[in-house]
């Protein structure tokens, strides 16, 4: 096994040989890396009849709304309490290290509130369209679900502040914390354009203000071109009603753009001829640069990726065959390629994109590799169909400095030690 190089692809014969060696208990196993079970003693999990094979299990309606296995109890959203002053204006993180594929389960989608989770009776929810329109209108949820042009689309929603705590250096230990302000679900809704056309936007209407019904009455100004292009007014995620924490009964979907603009509990859309300069686009969600000036209206989330396994919450368990797994996404379009490095960016291997690679959606990549127990510096580098290549953190800091808080899409490095444990680091 000592000749195995990180990043080398393994063929089937080699995989079987390695598995055989491991099965015979061969090879030196480092501390923390689990030894393979010896093949000479019968496995009690095979030769003894377990309870679940003997006794009847629960009936079909034991959980009218199913929940994950109790063995998955640790796969939950988490918050970092020191980040914010209150839990009602705060964020929780998606456990990316434990997920696979591209769809985030509804109950694990990260949550960002500014005034807590509004609990809204859908029968009492209204959507108002007004301002520079020919006909100001009010819609009920019943009206909205009867609108023509219903659409299903998978999109990532990434908080503008995702990885924001990492601008000054490696800080939080786990991709749940460094990259977990993101989720990717299939939305069902109707184009925002349909509502704007129903109301009749006047020629001077160049911006719109979207507002939520929660206690922060969240507002953002959005250019009319985006609103007419691909924004959705959505009531369902992954086939069921939006979760309350995701804006039940109605939210705005703003594909590829920073999560702050995806107004939850959407109740009002006003058309105007200029942006409103709201708190969430002046004090917040503006990006301070080194010269003391700030970018505003940095809407698009650039191409980004992270290796979710191995990572600090998901160490390597054994030498030999292993899988680097990760996610990539771009607000500018479709992910076309992801490269993986196991030596801190010296050498790169193009990973395998597996499953749907949809525009402005999370995309899954894998790199099968053989680990001989040496230290690794694992990185991933995403590319999208505009030709944008995910930059290093150093390249980003060279342009922006370290105080812009938002839009940190720099390449992440995990140090994997010889015992398999991983740590968030930065490298030269």
């Amino acid at each position: 096994m000592s000749e195995a190089k990180p990043g080398a692809r393994i063929d089937r014969r080699r995989f079987l040989n390695l598995a055989g060696l491991a099965g015979a208990g061969a090879g030196v196993v480092a501390a923390g890396v689990r030894p393979a079970a010896a093949g000479s003693t019968p496995d009690p999990d095979i030769v003894n009849i377990p309870n679940w094979t003997q006794a009847l299990g629960a009936g079909v309606n034991n959980h009218p709304y199913g929940v994950p296995s109790p063995f998955e109890k640790d796969i939950v959203r988490r918050e970092v309490t020191w980040l914010t002053a209150s839990s009602e204006s705060s964020v929780s993180f998606t456990p990316l290290y434990a997920l696979d594929g591209i769809i985030t389960p509804n109950g694990l989608c990260f949550v960002r509130h500014h005034g807590g989770e509004a609990e809204i009776d859908p029968a009492r929810h209204r959507l108002m369209i007004h301002g520079m329109v020919d006909r100001p209108l009010v819609f009920t949820m019943e009206d909205i679900k009867r609108m023509p042009g219903r659409t299903n689309r998978a999109y990532f929603l990434e908080c503008a502040a995702n990885s924001g705590m990492e601008w000054r250096g490696a800080q939080l230990n786990g991709c749940q914390y460094t990259h977990g302000m993101i989720h990717n679900v299939v939305y069902t809704g109707v184009p925002l354009r349909a509502f704007l056309e129903a109301a009749g936007v006047k020629p001077k209407g160049k911006w719109l203000l979207a507002e939520g019904a929660d206690a922060s009455a969240m507002t953002r100004s959005i250019p009319i071109e985006k609103a007419m292009d691909d924004c959705l007014v959505a009531w369902a995620m992954n086939g069921e009603a939006l979760r309350p924490e995701q804006g039940y009964p109605l939210r705005l979907v703003v594909p590829g753009w920073e999560g702050n603009m995806w107004i939850k509990w959407l109740r009002r859309v006003e058309i105007g001829d200029q942006p409103w300069g709201q708190r969430e686009e002046t004090s917040k969600y503006t990006d301070l640069l080194a010269d003391g000036r700030s970018r505003r209206f940095t809407f698009v989330m650039d191409a980004k990726s992270v290796v979710t396994n191995p990572s600090p919450q998901a160490p390597l368990r054994a030498r030999g065959p292993n899988v680097v797994s990760g996610i990539a996404w771009s607000g500018r379009g479709t992910i076309t390629r992801v490269d993986v490095s196991l030596d801190g960016g010296k050498n790169w291997t193009t990973a395998r994109i597996e499953g749907p690679a949809l525009p402005r959606s999370m995309t899954r990549f894998y790199l099968d590799f053989d680990w001989n127990g040496e230290e690794l510096l694992v990185q991933s580098r995403a590319m999208d169909d505009t030709g944008y290549v995910q930059p290093t953190k150093a390249e980003l800091r060279a342009v922006r400095g370290s105080n812009s808080i938002y839009h940190n899409n720099g390449i992440q490095t995990w140090l994997v030690r010889s015992n398999g444990e991983a740590e968030n680091v930065e490298v030269s």
């Binding site: 939950v76 988490r78 970092v80 020191w82 002053a85 009602e88 108002m128 007004h130 020919d134 006909r135 100001p136 209108l137 009010v138 819609f139 009206d143 009867r146 609108m147 023509p148 490696a170 800080q171 939080l172 230990n173 786990g174 914390y177 056309e197 129903a198 206690a215 009455a217 109740r267 009002r268 409103w276 300069g277 709201q278 004090s283 301070l288 080194a290 003391g292 000036r293 700030s294 970018r295 209206f297 940095t298 650039d302 600090p312 919450q313 160490p315 490269d339 960016g345 010296k346 790169w348 510096l377 580098r381 290549v389 390249e395 342009v399 140090l415 740590e423 968030n424 930065e426 030269s428």
Partner: protein, 227 residues
């Protein structure tokens, strides 16, 4: 709304659409929803723009604002807007935006006074949003402007003089320019082999050790670690 009233609305909308000759909007779309009444728009349309659009009638002085602030705001934001604990600092920080640790407040960072009015009225006090009357919001904004050295102690803020108020950092924002200033990130052929010399670790998260731990978990593994 009763069924007949609802049908009445639908008919009225259709009639209005036809009368105006708006053939472009599809009839299917217009048959859903109903006209928003002026009272309804007034109830929800509380936003205020930098040009003053949306400001209600009213006024308030720094002195009135100080009293209101001490009673409604100071428990989180401090008597002088200096912030209590982790709660936001509202005043001070001028001249810190290029420093290692910028302090971004209304006076040092915010571009528009209109945002202060709009946000205080819309979302503050935290936990009792939209409980302040227009005169009270004018007074609190006046006090905040005073704390940030934007207006004198005897200032009375009103709908009329509001557009004259300018915050120090107003001119320091510009539209997203990533496609020009970061054009180097669009690369045709990124390096694949021997891209750099010696790779050294420059920074460890474990040294900071601020990641939540799972109580009772072995060692100091980050919360949620797969076992």
């Amino acid at each position: 709304m009763s069924r007949s009233a609802r049908l009445g609305f639908v008919a009225a909308t259709l009639f209005a659409a036809c009368a105006a000759g708006l053939g472009a909007a599809s009839a299917d779309t217009i048959r859903l929803g109903r006209p928003a009444l002026p009272e309804e728009i007034k109830a929800w349309d509380i936003d205020v723009r930098p040009d003053g659009m949306g400001l209600p009638e009213g006024k308030g002085s720094v002195a009135q604002g100080e009293e209101l602030f001490q009673n409604n705001c100071a428990m989180c934001h401090g008597e002088f807007g200096e912030g209590v604990g982790r709660w936001p600092v509202l005043a001070g920080g001028q001249g810190t935006l290029k420093s290692e640790r910028p302090e971004k407040t209304i006076g040092s960072f915010w571009p528009y006074a209109s945002t202060v009015y709009d946000y205080v009225h819309r979302a503050m006090p935290f936990g009792a949003a939209q409980t302040l009357q227009p005169d009270e919001v004018y007074a609190i904004v006046a006090y905040l402007l005073y704390l940030n050295d934007v207006v004198p102690e005897d200032y009375v803020l009103s709908k009329e003089n509001f557009p004259k108020v300018e915050l120090p950092n107003q001119g320091k924002f510009y539209d997203d320019d990533r496609e020009t200033t970061e054009k180097a990130f669009w690369k045709k052929n990124p390096c694949m082999k021997d891209c750099k010399g010696k790779v050294e670790i420059t920074n460890h998260a474990a040294i900071l050790d601020v990641t939540p731990d799972e109580a009772g978990e072995e060692g100091d593994k980050p919360a949620g670690a797969v076992e």
